[in-house]
């Protein structure tokens, strides 16, 4: 009984750990390599971006960096952090004060990059600019190419909106699916003990003690592969 409980506990722990890692992977939308944003600001922007992806299916990332970058850099970030085929990355290169984009092919018609850049530029603070940027993105996705008027009230989201962006339904469904899968696995493992008749796989139990001697061996190197992937930069630790 203790063994079974321990097994259940371990599987539960594994599932929770894996949920954490999955969550960390899918929720990274804002990359602040210049430490221009506070931790709370990053979290708020992450929530907004996640809400957009959950609601419209578009993954929109924003990156501030002090390195000289190009479109390839933007694409690398996008490919590294998501497998969503619909989305884009907006990169602000503070070193050369230039902007770079990467937009996936299916999403090209959905984003007005000029308006998005204007929205970002229109605010003096990084946080305000990015927040405005996401508002423009959301509006363009929700109204589908209709003309949008930008007002100050569009720029600042409320705390309530941020809380609602955590997608509890998704988490609950994930919990139920994982729970049910674990339930079936555990019960089937217990029920499988009703079958105790099976052929033996080997004759190891009949090995003569001390009789095993290795008479020849070699290890020949054949070839090697080198995989190189762009490194995600450190998050803002503020």
């Amino acid at each position: 009984m203790i063994k079974k409980l321990l097994t259940i506990f371990l599987i539960t722990a594994i599932c929770i750990c894996s949920s954490i890692s999955v969550s960390a992977y899918t929720e990274q939308y804002v990359f602040d390599y210049e430490n221009a944003l506070s931790y709370d600001e990053v979290q708020e922007l992450e929530s907004t971006a996640e809400q957009i992806e959950n609601e419209y299916g578009y993954c929109v990332m924003f990156c501030i960096t002090d390195e000289e970058t190009d479109e390839n850099y933007a694409q690398n970030i996008y490919d590294t952090y998501t497998d969503n085929e619909n989305g884009m990355v907006f990169v602000h290169d503070t070193e050369s004060e230039s902007y770079h984009y990467y937009v996936t092919e299916p999403a090209k018609s959905r984003f007005d990059l000029t308006k998005m850049q204007d929205a970002y530029d229109s605010n003096n603070s990084y946080f305000g600019g990015i927040e405005y940027f996401y508002t423009v993105v959301e509006n363009s996705l929700s109204y589908d190419d209709t003309e949008i008027e930008y007002t100050d009230t569009d720029v600042y989201t409320t705390g309530d909106e941020t809380d609602s962006s955590k997608s509890p339904v998704k988490t609950i469904i994930l919990c139920i699916v994982v729970g049910m899968a674990m339930g079936f696995i555990i019960i089937f493992a217990i029920a499988s003990k009703n079958k105790s008749v099976r052929m033996q796989k080997n004759a190891t139990v009949y090995t003569r003690p001390g009789s095993f001697v290795v008479t020849g061996s070699y290890d020949n190197f054949l070839y090697k592969n080198l995989d190189k992937t762009p490194k995600p930069k450190q998050e803002n630790k503020n």
């Binding site: 539960t12 599932c15 929770i16 949920s19 969550s23 955590k166 509890p168 988490t171 609950i172 919990c175 139920i176 994982v178 729970g179 049910m180 899968a181 674990m182 339930g183 079936f184 555990i186 019960i187 089937f188 217990i190 029920a191 003990k193 009703n194 079958k195 105790s196 008749v197 099976r198 052929m199 033996q200 796989k201 080997n202 004759a203 190891t204 139990v205 009949y206 090995t207 003569r208 009789s211 095993f212 001697v213 290795v214 008479t215 020849g216 061996s217 070699y218 290890d219 020949n220 190197f221 054949l222 070839y223 090697k224 592969n225 080198l226 995989d227 190189k228 992937t229 762009p230 490194k231």
Partner: protein, 356 residues
């Protein structure tokens, strides 16, 4: 007509049986105990000279193919058994009998492991086996009755050899590092070869088609150090078969098991790699020989819902096996209940961690 041997008590004339508890022959009527060889010597001088024979016209041509007819030396009753039966009981007087011709000459087993556990132990083991298992239909537990318990000496071929094996593996080593901009993963591929010798003693293969192979392999292992030279006295009171699968026919199964073990032993020597696959094992056998032995097994039969369930217990070690029916509805119900419970716990943890 084939003849049978019957161990008779010199005190009361009753048929004696091998008693697993005291490891001696014992008369169930007067409870006198005899050493194995003692009774053989005594009975050799007092062999019953009465032989009954069947009339020539009792069986038509071909009717007795695959069966032998014996005459009980105690009551004269006719015992019909198939051609592989080596020990049985007279259906009329219940006296244990051994068909002598089945275990003589080239058919004589080299070894026999005497029963260490009796019928009562087999019943207890079945009770424990049923008590331990979950999701067995209640109706099966309540209604099933053991229809038959029989102690059977099952013929086995025991293969001993020195195996000379070699194996090729594809192995990989993975090295990871990173610099300021990139993560690197270098995978190196190797062709790995190992060869070695390993000895195997007495790998058993079931020599009877009557016994399911998987059932016999499931009650392994037997402790062959407790085996004794074959003596028909050990068969008294039990059923016994002679082999009907030859050693040559059994070799493939022994080779299969030995080959797997050789591969397992060789792969254990491959160290320092992150993955090993594509195993190819070649094997040669040297100094191979085989023996013929009788292993003690208790067989318990029961039926439920028109399906027959067979259990087996190692008559030496007490290892008990046997498939049980599963209540599928109960499994689904329990899975849903447990799943719901785990889901609730996960939701609660998610809430506490702030994911909800």
């Amino acid at each position: 007509m084939p003849t049978i041997a019957e161990q008779k008590c010199p005190c009361c004339g009753g048929g004696v049986q091998f008693d697993a508890g005291v490891q001696k022959l014992k008369c169930p009527y007067c409870e006198t105990e005899f050493e194995i060889n003692q009774l053989n010597q005594e009975t050799a001088d007092n062999v019953d000279s009465i032989n009954w024979s069947a009339q020539d016209n009792q069986w038509s041509s071909g009717e007795t193919d695959g069966m032998n007819v014996y005459s009980c030396q105690s009551c004269g009753g006719e015992i019909i058994a198939d051609s592989t039966t080596g020990a049985s009981k007279c259906p009329y007087c219940d006296n244990p009998v051994v068909m002598k011709g089945q275990f003589s000459g080239a058919l004589r087993p080299d070894l026999v492991i005497p029963f260490k556990l009796n019928k009562k132990a087999a019943k207890e083991a079945l009770k424990k086996h049923l008590a331990d298992k979950k999701f067995v239909p209640k109706a099966f537990l309540d209604n099933n009755r053991i229809e038959e318990i029989k102690g059977v000496y099952v013929p086995h071929w025991l293969f001993t050899c020195d195996a000379i094996g070699n194996a090729n593996f594809k192995a990989t080593q993975v090295k990871t590092w990173s610099d300021n901009n990139y993560n690197y993963k270098e995978t190196s591929y190797y062709d790995v070869y190992r060869s070695g010798n390993i000895g195997f003693d007495n790998v058993p293969v079931d020599g009877s088609t009557k016994m399911p192979d998987d059932l016999m392999e499931s009650v392994e292992p037997f402790d062959l150090s407790q085996a004794v030279d074959f003596n028909t006295a050990y068969l008294a009171g039990y059923l016994a078969d002679k082999y009907d699968v030859t050693a040559e026919e059994s070799m493939n199964r022994a080779n299969e098991r030995i080959r797997t073990s050789v591969g397992d032993a060789l792969v254990e020597t491959v160290k320092g790699y992150d993955s090993i696959d594509s195993r190819v094992v070649n094997m040669n056998i040297a100094n191979g020989f085989y023996k013929y032995a009788l292993y003690p097994v208790w067989i318990l039969n029961t039926s439920w819902n028109g399906e027959k369930f067979t259990f087996a217990m190692n008559g030496q070690t007490g290892k008990f096996v046997g498939n049980l029916p599963t209540d599928k509805k109960a499994v689904v119900k329990a899975s849903l209940l447990l799943g719901a419970g785990i889901s609730a716990v996960l939701c609660g943890l998610s809430f506490l961690l702030g994911w909800l």
